[in-house]
Amino acid sequence: MSAVVAEHDHHDHGPAKGLLRWIITTNHKDIGTLYLLFALAMFFVGGAMAMVIRAELFEPGLQFVDPAFFNSMTTMHALVMVFGAVMPAFVGLANWMIPMMIGAPDMALPRMNNMSFWLLVAGVLLLASTLLMEGGAPASGWTLYPPLVLQTGKALPFAIFSVHLLGISSIMGAINIIATIFNMRAPAMTLMKMPMFVWTWLITAFLLIAIMPVFAGAVTMLLTDKFFQTSFFDAAGGGDPVLYQHIFWFFGHPEVYVMILPTFGVASTIIPVFARKPLFGYSSMVYATAAIAFLSFIVWAHHMFTVGMPIAGELYFMYATMLIAIPTGVKVFNWTATMWKGSMTFETPMLFSIAFVVLFTMGGFTGLMMAIAPVDFQYHDTYFIVAHFHYTLVPASIFILMAAGYFWLPKWTGHMYNEKIGQLHFWLSAISVNILFFPQHFLGLAGMPRRIPDYAIQFADWNMISSIGGFIFGASQLLFLYIVVDTIRGGTGEKVTAEVWEDASKHSLEWTLSSPPPYHSFTTPPTSIPTEHI
């Protein structure tokens, strides 16, 4: 409390001393750092679970773990990566960057900001604790479909309460971001001058407020079905398990865009800097983001084409889903056009961003294939869908998070990262991610189901190749960990300028501040706004 009071007395004071600084901090940069480091840690935890999965699938037969634990691994890997790694990483970026990008001194609601971080930690720890419980961690897949999920052992109420905590944390983070963007912008920063990262997060935050409560409601229904004799999803009591799928995907489809829209925002920030051109089609990017967000609410049942829907429903959800390709195509073409005839250089952040554009497009195309209801019956619940969403998450969201790390680490720390190791990290990741996930398309088309610990021998070769790619990819990420630690501790020793990258200060406000930026920045709003990004 004393630190908060002190803040009002002296505007130029630094952070509190010692470890307590990180617990009581209300500073957006400190909280951003906490989020990012926590997400990085969870990335390795979730990654270790993926390694267990790939090790078990290296050969047919049961090798290392029992099937129930294997199913817990697929479930926990997904939950940890979605709620512990990707979402917090983007919230961390939002905390660090949004106030600096819009010329604000801090987030709008600093104490709530602190609380939402620590609730996230509590939620993830609670989720992790289910691994030690009688009956094991949830093993129903991250979708938590009843009736299967109701067979979870002692872990069920804990997992559900953890989802509640994660939801509350996300909602508070989203409220904070919206309030910051609406109320804290420098007077000269009009909405249509905001950097794309700010725009995409504004829209994402609205998605979060709309969907996280629906998910909280769905898992609460599971809870009351199990312990309080309701029958929302229990056929014995007149309920319907298919209803859960509808409610879940009403949340779930916008949720996947929560992970991809800020990705688009970072890509739209990085590509113009290294192409040395303004972003092509700024306003179309804004509208495309809004269009994708809107469409995300009306396509959910394409996740459940095989559940037994009327033909009219299948057709509607098929065509509505295909519509998403239009605004997404606008974005991909805009990024390409931004690079067109640009004076491009290929530093690590740019390499990751280019790989994102190419590989995300592939993930998008397999998505389009599955949007076709009649053929989805072949792809449903096979490794094809696994390959699809991993292409849209790993070489898309994760690559862009890596790109953001390389792009802003010099700004955050004031030190330059080691470019050689960065490039090595990129090439190892970009090659191995394809060895890892590309063969899974073949496996899926050949009929290998997802979420199984053992498989028929005709799937052996591609699984082995996929696992080898997985191990290389997993090991390569240790390079990123090394770079982060090394850069924080001084990096190459090279002094970085305020703008770090050539002419970056023409693109966005954060580059007009020193590197590292002062603990409190923009206590008086900036008067001139860079417009090169528009």
């Binding site: 001194p105 804290m184 709309a210 629906v214 319907d240 009327p310």
Partner: protein
Amino acid sequence: MSKDVANKNIKLARTLLLVAVAMFGFGYALVPLYDVLCEWKWIERDRPDDIKKVPEVAYQIDRNREVTVEFMTTLNESTPMKFRAEKKQLKVHPGEYYTVNFYAENKTDNAMVARAIPSFSPAVISSYFEKIECFCFSEQTFKAKEAKIMPMRFVINPALPEQYKTITLSYTFFDNTEKSVKK
């Protein structure tokens, strides 16, 4: 941060919090909404209300067509019952009324509440498969060791498209004793 901005922030945060609470309610509102939408004629879903005590409509019996109706009986998890249909399948003419008896028995020494849920394959034929009398959806109470014969009377609407030659009708019995007692 000036007081003015701080007030604006708190006001906006309150509004957004209300939206979040409303969306939590919306999640629950999807439950009745789901039932309403499933009432729409073009959604092929078997509903409890489908089995109304309506007088039998006299259809033109199509003697030239024969449709095979298969009956499957399943017990959910470890429901302690015996449950079977009197015949595994039946060849029927569209438009003609048939009655099939199902046999269910409580194997326990206690009273039991159970409920049977039907399912069709292919799903689209459910609107042509008209049940006049059925034991499904409603809760059935069994005394200890009680056995029941439960008739299901149905007719296949002659409007059934030509391509459907086999229809599978599956019933699953769920034990609902625990929930019924606690309520």
